[in-house]
Subunit: 333 residues, 2 copies
């Protein structure tokens, strides 16, 4: 196994977030399920945008947020995802490259626009997302550069890739190449509705050893094992031959292997503003910790620190240099 | 004089802000003067964008920010400004309309792109702006609808309108129509560099009674009267036959007429994040106060409240409902 050029390569939907503050009435009027991510077509996306208040536009995408967070911690990172060569695609590309992430997936020259996720943030800080996948529907195995995968110590894949038609093939190709090169593969279950759509396939990925590490929150974990009891879900996870990393909101996180279970507290925050990206940034910190060979508890603390930063402002990308924030909190390299 | 349909009509450059956190080194490398607003061409704007970190995109424009703020306080508002029918122009239009501002200036169908202002926010909260005026260069007197002006109790004009070639004619047309209809006209001096470019013309506007109300910060006021002494500048302002409203950052504001001078304190803040829009939102609160016939001290307190809100987050548009915030602070209607 050669030395890795990248600590983490992410593969995910390349999305620009359009974020507006909203009240519960708007969710009700638009029939949106609070806390969820629903897929919408272009026309519905336009109609919902017209109903939204003034918006802030910030690059997003679950795995992309994670990779940007890991880069902010100082990890060497790369990303694969599909935009179109429109204004939003150019903004996504600028933002991810400007923080040092290697990103050279060829943008689509025509076809659907760059994906946009309409994020409604309610006064309780909860976010409700409506995603138009747009150009992400053109992501396919041809976008997975084998050399980039082989030269990445860890490949991080999002469950949301099961939504667009050909991205699943890109996911599996990346996992195969990574394992052939002796690398590790991580999966995030993305959200509980996504787990509900693809439960069987996600369990297969875990059980046929396509993935080595699984990130989930408590709702996704319960959905995966179709139980309302968290302990039952943890017991089931403990039987899998993976490293499981489960976030439980303000209760912190739990790192699970066959041999051990370790609970790690969250970081205190001053004011919850917008939970968008909490899970993504937790994964960023955890992966940044793995990249520097930290123990799992330290990895989870780095994750908690990044999640605490991102939920205290609007948007799912960090607004602080996370390496500096880690150093301030005694978690520096 | 007929009853007004709008409390405030704003006329200004329609701009989308592209905001990134930056360190002082970037300003030095790019030869940018901290705290200033400089005009750049499209090519320089692109080069600077490439040098910037990850960015947040939020509608901006000085007078537009003010009008949106006044709308958030519950004032009936309208805006005139020129975008192009591109993605940024559509976002600008969505954002200003979605908060209830009447905005129907015809967008340019071709020519330069919608204006963008690259805003670099340093750790001290100061913002440094580089503006590509783009489609604003196409704003002209034909965009000023006489009926909208006549039906607005107050017309608010930004000094920045002296920058694009034909906007000055739009400014003067609006002021003439407003006065013929018995309405009031307000001018913001915009920034000290702008005052430096057009000092003689701005003094003429004040002295030939084109404007009735002047908004400025202390730097702009000193620049207007070419003095480094604030008291000297205030004495000069007191000689003009206008209502002068001068903001002095954390020291609060001063409302000046020939007859009286009243100092009004600022609102305390928890943490300064981004000063972009502080002056714009101060004017928003003041105008919203005038719209409800509040005394000048109350108007200035409303301004201070709105300014305090906007400097505690990224972006120059309010993220709270300002009417609700006013009520919480004993300044409700």
């Amino acid at each position: 196994m050669s030395a890795a050029r990248f600590d983490v390569l992410g593969l995910g939907n390349a999305i620009v977030d359009v974020i507006a503050l909203a009240d519960d009435d708007l969710l009700a009027r638009e029939n949106l399920q609070k806390g969820g991510m629903m897929l919408v077509d272009e026309s519905r996306s336009g109609q919902l945008y017209a109903a939204m208040g003034p918006a802030t536009i910030i690059s997003g995408g679950s795995a992309a947020n994670t990779i940007v967070g890991a880069a902010s911690f100082g990890a060497r990172t790369a990303f694969i995802g599909k935009v179109r060569s429109d204004d939003a695609g150019k903004a996504f590309t600028h933002d991810i490259r400007s923080i040092g992430v290697h990103f050279d997936t060829a943008p689509a020259q025509d076809g659907p626009a760059t994906a946009r996720c309409l994020v409604l943030v309610t006064p309780d800080g909860e976010r409700t997302m409506s995603t138009y996948l747009g150009a992400c529907q053109n992501l396919g195995p041809e976008d997975v550069d084998p050399e980039t995968v082989r030269s990445s110590a860890l490949v991080y894949l999002e469950g949301y890739l099961w939504d667009p038609p050909a991205a699943k093939q890109a996911f599996l190709k990346a996992a195969d190449i990574a394992h052939a090169a002796g690398r590790q593969v991580a999966l995030t279950l993305s959200d509980s509705f996504c787990v509900d759509r693809y439960r069987g396939e996600f369990l297969d990925l875990i059980r046929n050893k396509t993935v080595d590490i699984v990130f989930a929150n408590q709702h996704e974990l319960k959905s995966l094992y179709e139980t309302s009891d968290l302990d039952t879900a943890f017991s089931a996870l403990r039987q899998e031959a993976v490293l499981g990393v489960v976030t439980c909101s303000e209760k912190g996180s739990v790192v699970v292997t066959r041999e051990s279970t370790k609970a790690v507290p969250a970081f205190p925050i001053e004011a919850l503003v917008d939970t968008t990206g909490a899970g993504d940034l937790f994964a960023a910190g955890f992966l940044a910790g793995l990249a520097r060979n930290a123990d799992h508890a330290t990895c989870a603390r780095l994750g908690a620190l990044a999640a605490a930063e991102v939920i205290q402002h609007v948007g799912a990308r960090p607004m602080r240099n996370l390496a500096a924030l880690a150093a301030e909190n005694g978690l520096g390299v």
